[in-house]
């Protein structure tokens, strides 16, 4: 059955190429920024944060949920491994954000407790929660796929995104426990760039 699916994907290759070309042919628009979304979240301290307020420094961001026992702890570990590849001076120049896709359960206090349990420095990491609509928009904007499963958890892609200072997607790592060189280099390049 998978064979049929793969064949169908090949059938759709022209469609995919056509879709990609929409962006390549664009002269009309500047790079899209997630800060253009009207997107308000609540951080682990219960403070409202409009995404636009984050403008000014690069971020490594991921979307996940604290009730996830299998892949999400691995994502946290992945972020820590990436983070360790930078000097203290470099680390001061970017942040890391965990956007929860489970607003019902991931309240600010749950997020705070999760961060503490995971040994995370909340001076540099931000844990965010919001509502279903806001989650859906951000997920759609960064190309994150997710679905509530039968046990009221979520199936989701393991996506780690690097946002530049203006909130544009600079790089995306689509799996964990794989080669991290590209994402590290992408962030290093961003940090080396002078601020506009």
């Amino acid at each position: 059955m998978k064979l049929i699916y793969i064949l169908l994907l090949f059938l759709f290759t022209p469609v995919l190429n056509a879709l990609d070309s929409n962006d390549k042919s664009s002269n009309q628009f500047k790079g899209p920024s997630v800060y253009e979304l009207d997107s308000t979240w609540i951080n682990q301290n219960g403070v409202n944060v409009n995404l636009e307020e984050l403008k000014g420094k690069p971020y490594i961001v991921t979307m996940a949920f604290t009730g996830c026992r299998y892949s999400c702890p691995l994502i946290i570990e992945e972020l820590k491994r990436i983070d360790r590849k930078f000097t203290a001076k470099q680390r001061a120049q970017y942040g890391i954000i965990f956007f929860s896709i489970d607003p019902t359960n991931d309240t600010p206090s749950v997020l705070r407790a999760y961060a503490k349990k995971s040994g995370i420095d909340l001076n540099r990491w931000i844990f965010m929660t919001s509502n279903d609509e806001t989650v859906r928009d951000l997920a759609a904007a960064v190309g994150f796929k997710y679905k509530k499963d039968a046990k009221m958890g979520f199936s989701h892609s393991n996506l780690i995104t690097v946002l530049d200072r203006n909130g544009s997607i600079n790089f995306q790592q689509k799996a964990i426990n794989q080669n991290r060189t590209d994402i590290i280099n992408a962030l290093k390049k961003l940090l080396a760039k002078k601020k506009n």
Partner: protein
């Protein structure tokens, strides 16, 4: 009013009509995977609660009404996060599509964000995959595939000319493909095809293998198309209708 099939009545008024879709079931193509047991849960039918669905896809004419009030979504100023550069590509001006666009046809070259905004403006929402697939499931697969295999005409026809299903909705197949709210919930993509341990590490509970309906090629094509989409993409034969 619909007799004869042509949209020779007031399309705007007709498009405000919604059809009550009764309780029913959606049959997913793939099983889910239990994250704890690492076993697949058979693809059981998913109950769909009764809901309202637009009788027709949203037309160009209706979309002009939306743009006349909601300036942010006009093609000259829409933020680039919400739509790619082909947004309303076949339109000449912000509020005037020009002679090459049939105002009674479904609006296309719209993004997921813009479709969602239109429905919200109407006090509605986009249908989910389960709702859409259930509502559209009554059309014979052969008819759908025949349409899929035909190239789309440059100027789209009026709404109301193609298949009417048993619930009374038109054009779910036959003119355009349609956006759904959770288009990005199909986790069958390039990262999850192998069915290996690596695949299991990609998702928290998801991924799948072995379809429940290997004969439904049309549904596979829709799945593949949806999986290829990004929320800001706009395509010549992709439009939408709203639900409530």
């Amino acid at each position: 009013m619909i007799l004869g099939g042509a949209c020779d009545f007031d399309c705007k008024a007709a498009n405000d009509l919604m059809i009550q879709i009764p309780d029913g079931f959606y049959r997913p193509l793939f099983p889910e995977r239990d994250p704890d047991l690492k076993e697949e849960i058979p693809a059981l039918p998913v109950p769909v609660s009764s809901f309202l669905l637009d009788k027709f896809p949203v037309t160009v004419s209706e979309y002009i009404d939306f743009l006349s009030i909601n300036k942010k979504w006009r093609k000259s100023i829409i933020p680039s996060i919400y739509a790619d550069s082909l947004y309303l590509n076949n339109w000449e001006f912000d509020l005037e599509p020009g002679d090459l666009v049939n105002k009674k046809s479904p609006v296309t070259y719209v993004s997921w964000f813009s479709a969602k905004a239109y429905c919200a403006w109407k006090g509605k929402r986009l249908p989910t995959i389960a709702e859409w697939e259930y509502a559209a499931s009554e059309t014979p697969i052969e008819k759908i595939l025949k349409w899929y295999s035909k190239p789309a005409s440059e100027i789209l026809p009026d709404v109301g000319l193609t298949f009417k299903n048993k619930f009374g909705t038109f054009d779910l197949h036959g003119i355009i493909w349609e956006w759904v709210l959770d288009f990005n919930s199909d986790l069958i993509n390039e990262e999850s095809r192998n069915g290996t341990e690596i695949e299991r590490s990609m998702f928290c509970g998801g991924s799948s293998a072995g379809s429940s309906r290997p004969e439904d090629y049309a549904a596979f094509m829709r799945l593949a198309f949806r999986s290829s989409l990004n929320a800001k993409y706009t395509v010549s034969n992709l439009g939408f209708r709203c639900a409530k």
